[in-house]
Point group: C2
Chain length 275, copies 2
């Protein structure tokens, strides 16, 4: 599945994966910036709490977004594939200027929402200029190839990661979250070893990648994002490696980017300062 | 301190950092290969167990090396700087074809042996063709800049690592061990961010880098080594970053190398197959 087509001169909306555990009580830099790119004081944000099985996850984000300056914030408590067809809720998505997907279990997102009118509406909205972001599981689901689960540790191993289809707002990146906190370099390397066309984006907690319509990534938050670019990969042994065996990968380009740094997904160039 | 000079046409001996927990009861690939490059059936191996405070560490390696085919294996139970001047023990080092440094606490190695006749004898021996290897703490001490301790996690942070002078057999690499098992990417990145001249070598457990006189690294063992080459680093924010703050680093080259793969420390080229 490719990203939904943008029409005419309309620009794709921001795609905003967040590494989880974003600050909510302090300066809340990430959520404030998210509201900004949803239209600031004129923003209407729809929250999809489907990944979470905690009942008040959606309501908490409703309150939070309103407190931080959003004009409207509405959680849609979609808990089943049937729910994901409700006309009333689809209308909220169609009128939204921003869509926020909470954390939880990303397989709930892919299994409950995958292929439903809600998933289609989210894809269409983003193609038409609406910002779509998510935290933790909500970040994982944004890309075409979602890491469902995998082993921890720095070294890539064959079968260290399980990829499943996500919402497919972009196929340029593979996203991993809680990156530093859960030691996920190995599984993200494994993911890009399978097919080096995508860029691996490992997000620390309280750290977000704001990806604009021109595919420029800007980092916001207190951690860093780790970018793995395998476009110059000269060798990967993953095709021959036995399950659980370490994988040789040569010539991966690595960038660690803290707040303000940028990465251009078109040219694959990192910039140390905001541009 | 630079590595001791080699004389005339004598070639420097192998330098063999091992990531810790090398196999001893199974195929023992690393220790067997170590004995091979010490002269196989004619090898005389001296063991330095100073990093360890467990009394029989040295004796265990004596038995192990003999069982695996070394001609002689002798542990020198050096526990103080005074011990490190004993004439009798220095003679063992002078006659050795291989020197093996056990695991434990690398600060015991630098504080007890640093600057003593034993450390000087080890440096001279390696310059004259004698293999010097070590596991875990014994690997850390081999290079010029030793990681004494540091934070865990994938993202480099200012002050995430403490470097102290090691034995200085090579200044081309910075070594970290138990790499995958203890999530040490961030601290090794921090170490090379301070001064990108060195190559970061992260060794998984049961994995060794055999570095020959021509500075070609060959990987042996069941894990992988992670090579971080910052020679093309275009930006590091470590000079400005506050303590504990994440560091931006752009354009680090990363290789993950499993058994048989090579890395040339002169040209900084990785090879996927044995050469």
């Amino acid at each position: 599945m490719s990203p939904a087509r943008t029409e005419g001169d309309r620009k794709r909306g921001y795609i905003v994966p967040i590494g989880g555990a974003e600050d909510k009580d302090g300066t809340a830099d990430i959520l404030r910036r998210f509201i900004d790119v949803c239209g600031a004081g004129r923003s209407r944000i729809v929250i999809l709490p489907t990944a979470s099985t905690v009942e008040d996850t959606g309501r908490k984000y409703e309150k939070l977004f309103r407190k931080l300056g959003a004009d409207e914030a509405k959680a849609l408590p979609i808990g089943s594939r049937e729910d994901a067809e409700k006309r009333e809720w689809l209308e909220y998505i169609e009128k939204a200027t921003g869509i926020f997907i909470t954390g939880g279990n990303q397989l709930r997102l892919s299994t409950i929402l995958g292929g439903t009118p809600v998933a289609k509406a989210v894809r269409r909205a983003n193609a038409h200029g609406v910002t779509v972001g998510g935290t933790s599981a909500g970040a994982a689901i944004l890309s075409e190839h979602m890491i469902a689960y995998g082993a921890e540790g720095s070294t890539p191993h064959a079968a260290a990661v399980t990829l499943v289809p996500g919402f497919g707002l972009t196929n340029r990146i593979m996203i991993d979250q809680h990156f530093r906190q859960r030691d996920r370099l190995g599984r993200l390397l494994t993911a890009i070893a399978y097919n080096p066309f995508a860029v691996g984006v490992g997000l620390d907690e309280d750290t977000a990648a704001f990806i604009d319509h021109a595919r420029m990534v800007t980092v916001v938050g207190t951690g860093a994002i780790t970018v793995l670019d395998a476009s110059e990969l000269s060798h990967s042994s993953i095709a021959e490696a036995k399950e659980g065996a370490p994988v040789t990968m040569t010539n991966v380009r690595l960038h660690v980017l803290a707040a303000g740094a940028t990465f251009d997904l078109e040219t694959r160039r990192a910039g140390a300062r905001p541009e």
